[in-house]
């Protein structure tokens, strides 16, 4: 079985975001695999170990993204692909097109990705990829069973759990709770250095001019500084009074 995992290298969740010259400053930042993508990798490895086949991790990103791929290889993925081209500054639409092209060329049975990226909050790429490849997708999955050519997924549906059945090929996005991602072992880290990692450019994929971003970033800025909280004092009536005043003062109305 050919299993693909689409991953993104993101800032560590605890990283301080600094804006320099209107852009997020990456200097000194610590990068990790998007945590939701780690669930996807773990699930792919477990399925491969159970059913056979191979796991390819793929990402679109700058040079530094190789580290994320190597980590995935250290966890146990078989090979990796890095789509990298300075001419490609993509939004979700472009990323999905590129991934689709790369994956289509090699063939696929199952594609896994994270539910969303913790940096941009985007959850579109994987699902757009399914559309590009014209296959079904099941999003936000917390349990997955693959039997022959059939996949049964449990998905998180706003507090409820839905069971969804699909035939392969299918694209699955991983939600927290799907599994506990493994810690790369030392031999895994050693072996990862020698595992194949293919670098692809837009030209390699036969894409270039046809790719146009559909979105435009106007400005990057930090959220406004949070105001200090306030604990209301006095007896209940006073507190209610104070609360009403505070809320009205903020321009809220209760109509």
């Amino acid at each position: 079985m050919k299993i693909w995992v689409c991953i993104k290298q993101t800032f560590d969740t605890e990283e301080k975001i600094v804006i320099e010259n209107g852009k997020v400053d990456e200097k000194d930042a610590e990068f990790i695999i998007n945590p939701y993508d780690e669930y996807a990798i773990e699930e792919a490895l477990q399925l491969r170990d159970e059913l056979g086949g191979e796991v390819t991790v793929i990402t679109v990103g700058p040079d530094r993204a190789e580290n994320a791929l190597r980590t995935a290889l250290a966890m146990g993925a078989d090979k990796a692909a890095l789509i990298q081209d300075p001419s490609l500054v993509g939004d979700e639409c472009v990323l999905a097109r590129m991934l689709a092209e790369a994956i289509r060329r090699e063939g696929f049975d199952l594609i896994l990705g994270g539910n969303f990226a913790v940096d941009s909050g985007s959850g579109q790429v994987a699902i757009r990829l399914a559309e590009e490849l014209d296959i079904p997708h099941i999003g936000s999955v917390t349990g997955l069973n693959v039997n022959g050519r059939q996949a049964i997924a449990k998905r998180d549906a706003e507090g409820d759990t839905e069971a969804v059945e699909s035939t392969l090929p299918v694209l699955i996005t991983a939600q927290q709770g799907l599994n506990e991602p493994r810690y790369p072992s030392l031999p895994g880290i050693m072996r990862a250095k020698r595992k194949p990692l293919e670098r692809l450019s837009a030209q390699d994929l036969g894409l270039s001019d046809s790719l146009k971003t559909k979105t435009l970033i106007i400005e990057e800025y930090l959220p406004p500084e949070k105001e200090a909280g306030k604990i209301l004092e006095g007896d209940l009536d006073q507190q209610v009074q104070e609360l009403v005043e505070a809320l009205c003062g903020k321009g809220l109305s209760f109509n």
Binding site: D12, E14, E15, K16, E30, Y183, S185, L186, P187, I189
Partner: protein, 738 residues
């Protein structure tokens, strides 16, 4: 003619005996040789002094006075009786006693020794089978030695007595017992007496040889192995872990997954164990219903080594081979997630909610409820370890079938077991070797532990909080001077704040107090701020040597950059690591724990504890400060220097102080099995009725704090760092900043 036959018979029997004994010893030696080469330091002087202290001084044995005195009697008794045995054998063959000057006195010494040994044997029997010490096994095997010694003593006395009858010797006050026996047999005819004498003589010889053959095949092998083990013990700082070489291209496996992965000294430990159970008796895991029992850790690995060794060398360990039992030992029952303390939830809640009985003032005293109990764990170990038909020795995995992961992840690395062990065994490094395999080779770590290590890897602290927030604690220092290494490059002391002291809200208060004291005493210090990283104790103790070495190298580089010569830290784990384990990676600096520096400053008069602090204080020893580094007195000195403080000791303190439960990375793991260690330790502290439980370690402080909260006594009993109590005395408790 008879003489000659007798002599030849003696030669054959003794020759065979010695040959067989040599065989069973040699075979075990061959099993030990399966291990990796051991690196031993040459400190001969230290080795000899340790040998004298622990072998001839029996120092560790006397930690348990009753059993210790019994052992001293047997130990010296046996040495003395060896000469007597030689004399008996010689006399039976040659007809004359050994040419010993003052033979009368020699005779007397033998009889007196027997008089001491017999009651000691009875007492040993009493302690095992009547008093039923929980740490001792009670099978029939354990009683074998008692019978051996008893009949050996009997045969000695009978031989001596009948010898007197046969030779018609008069009653002698130098041989009171044999004279008495001679009197009892005085009616015997001469030939009959001679016959009986020879029977007793042969019985003595045979029992002696049988005993000597039994010794290496049982836990009594320690007669031979324990002194060797003590002599070869590691002379490095206590608990120092071996460095792993990741640049070695030839090593394909790290840590221990097979018994042969241990080094020969570690394997010798296994045969030195005499199953006294003193380690388990003190183990915080065994005492609170975790499956780990340090004694069983050793004995299970010993059984496994013997079986594996027999298979690899194709030499049976047993002579005579009683049965062709090819079955091998394994753990036959998986541990229960709730540990061995099966009523664990119930016990814990009941214990936690039962209000302490109050006596004078606000002090809280506890009733006679059980605080710790090793019995459930000992029972589980004995029950689960046995022979099975289901596996062949090749399929018995060291991790899983001999030592379970539950045992491996229960150890707090407190070293109480090692401190107790009379034969100088080291348990902790074996557990770490097993962890190293699990973590480095298999990536198998309890989930929360993995997260902590990943966070350390990424942000340099176990919570994964931003590393650019590491120095944020400095914002809360009010007007106090906290120079960084950049602001004060000519500092004397680098104050290494550590992850707890930087990020943890409770520990930050200790940092605050310590800095107040440093400023008051005019100590020229500096901190690293955001350039500091986790020390690496958590990853190292959890087996992630790879991450530890990365942190270690990064920290040393930072120290070199700022020309650090002296380091002080409020964390005993950091202190131990920097002092004892960083030097192997190139750190050259004097390392102090904050209690050592504060003690010094008080002694020099640079800090004046003038305001009385009227508290009844009990001090909880940190393992890494106390047992690892013998810093017992400095924290106590500080407390004693404070007017008004009444210092009371817990039943288990100093070397015997029980762990808070957080060491060895356990701080970051969920403690689901059995009773919580910190609850048990808090109960031990509350038993002496303190108002304040003092400690000198951020982990201990957290654990004791949680412990008093679980008992619902946090209002009456405060938990404080020694530095915080000192601050109250130096500045008075109404001072701002408190």
């Amino acid at each position: 003619m008879w003489q000659l036959i007798h002599f030849l018979l003696f030669l054959i029997v003794t020759g065979c005996g010695i040959f067989l004994i040599a065989q069973v010893v040699y075979r075990r030696y061959a099993y030990i040789q399966l291990g990796k080469p051991a690196v031993l330091r040459k400190d001969l002087k230290e080795r000899i002094s340790v040998f004298l202290l622990h072998v001839f001084g029996q120092k560790k044995l006397l930690k348990d006075r009753k059993s210790g005195i019994m052992h001293v009697v047997m130990f010296y008794g046996f040495i003395i009786l060896q000469f007597g045995a030689l004399d008996i054998v010689y006399k039976g063959l040659v007809g004359r006693p050994l040419p010993i000057p003052g033979y009368h006195y020699f005779q007397l010494s033998q009889e007196i020794t027997v008089c001491f040994i017999l009651p000691a044997v009875v007492y040993a029997f009493y302690r095992r089978y009547m008093e039923k010490l929980k740490r001792l096994k009670r099978g029939w095997k354990a009683s074998l030695v008692v019978f051996f010694i008893f009949f050996l003593m009997l045969s000695v006395l009978l031989t001596l007595g009948l010898d007197r009858v046969r030779l018609g010797e008069a009653v002698s006050r130098y041989a009171p017992i044999s004279s008495l026996i001679a009197l009892a047999f005085s009616g015997l005819s001469m030939p009959l007496a001679t016959g009986f004498y020879h029977a007793a003589w042969w019985a003595h010889l045979l029992i002696l040889l049988a005993f000597a053959l039994y010794v290496p095949q049982s836990k009594h092998f320690h007669l031979i192995t324990a002194p060797i083990n003590i002599f070869l013990r590691r002379t490095e700082p206590a608990g120092k872990l071996r460095n792993m070489d990741f640049d070695d291209e030839f090593s394909e496996s790290f840590g221990a997954s097979k018994i042969e992965d241990f080094d020969k000294k570690q394997l010798l430990d296994l045969y030195a164990c005499v199953e006294c159970g003193r380690c388990t008796n003190m183990c915080p895991a065994s005492g609170t219903g975790k499956v780990l029992s340090p004694m069983h850790l050793i004995t299970k690995m010993r059984d496994h080594l013997t079986e594996k060794g027999a298979a690899v060398t194709s030499k049976s360990p047993w002579i005579p081979a009683f049965s062709a039992d090819a079955r091998v030992h394994t753990v036959r029952n998986r541990p229960h997630p709730s540990g061995t303390w099966h009523q664990s939830g119930g016990v814990q809640e009941a214990a936690a909610s039962e209000p302490g009985k109050r006596s004078e003032g606000s002090a809280v005293r506890l009733g006679a409820e059980t605080i710790t109990d090793i019995e459930p764990t000992v029972r589980w170990q004995n029950f689960s370890w046995g022979k099975t038909d289901e596996k062949k020795i090749d399929n018995v995995h060291l991790i899983g079938d001999v030592i379970t992961e539950e045992e491996i992840w229960s150890c707090t690395t407190c070293r109480n077991c090692e401190d107790q062990c009379p034969v100088g065994n080291e348990h902790v490094d074996k557990i770490i070797d097993l962890r190293r395999y699990l973590v480095l080779m298999e990536g198998k770590v309890p989930q929360e532990g993995q997260r902590a290590m990943q966070n350390i890897e990424r942000q340099g602290n176990p919570w994964g909080m931003s590393r650019s927030d590491r120095a944020k604690w400095m914002e809360d220092m009010n007007e106090m001077a906290v120079p960084t290494v950049k602001e004060n490059p000519d500092f004397d002391y680098l104050f290494f704040v550590g992850s707890m002291g930087s990020y943890d809200n409770r520990s930050k208060k200790v940092t605050h107090s310590f800095i107040r004291l440093l400023n008051e005493a005019g100590v020229n210090f500096a901190v690293l701020g955001n350039e500091e990283k986790a020390s690496g104790d958590t990853p190292r103790r959890m087996g992630n040597e790879f991450l530890f070495q990365q942190l270690c190298e990064a920290n040393i580089k930072t120290f070199e950059k700022y020309h650090v010569k002296k380091i002080v830290t409020a964390c005993p784990h950091t202190f131990n690591l920097f002092k004892n384990e960083y030097p192997a990676f190139g750190l050259r600096a004097e390392v102090l724990h904050h209690t050592q520096l504060l003690d010094l400053l008080v002694k020099e008069g640079r800090l004046n504890p003038k305001h009385p602090v009227r508290e009844r204080v009990t001090y909880h020893d940190s393992c890494y400060l106390g047992r690892y580094n013998s810093v017992f007195d400095q924290p106590r000195n500080i407390l004693r220097a404070i007017p008004g403080v009444e210092l009371v000791e817990m039943e288990r303190s100093r070397e015997n102080g029980m762990c808070c439960g957080a060491g060895g990375g356990m701080m970051w793991l969920e403690e689901e099995a059995g009773k919580r260690v910190n609850l048990a330790r808090a109960e031990q502290a509350l038993a002496v009725g303190p108002n304040t439980i003092a400690s000198a370690c951020p982990y201990c402080l957290t654990m004791m704090d949680d412990g008093t909260k679980m008992k619902g006594v946090e209002e009456e009993v405060k938990t404080k760092d020694v530095a915080e109590i000192l601050v109250e005395s130096v500045f008075g408790s109404l001072q701002p900043g408190h």
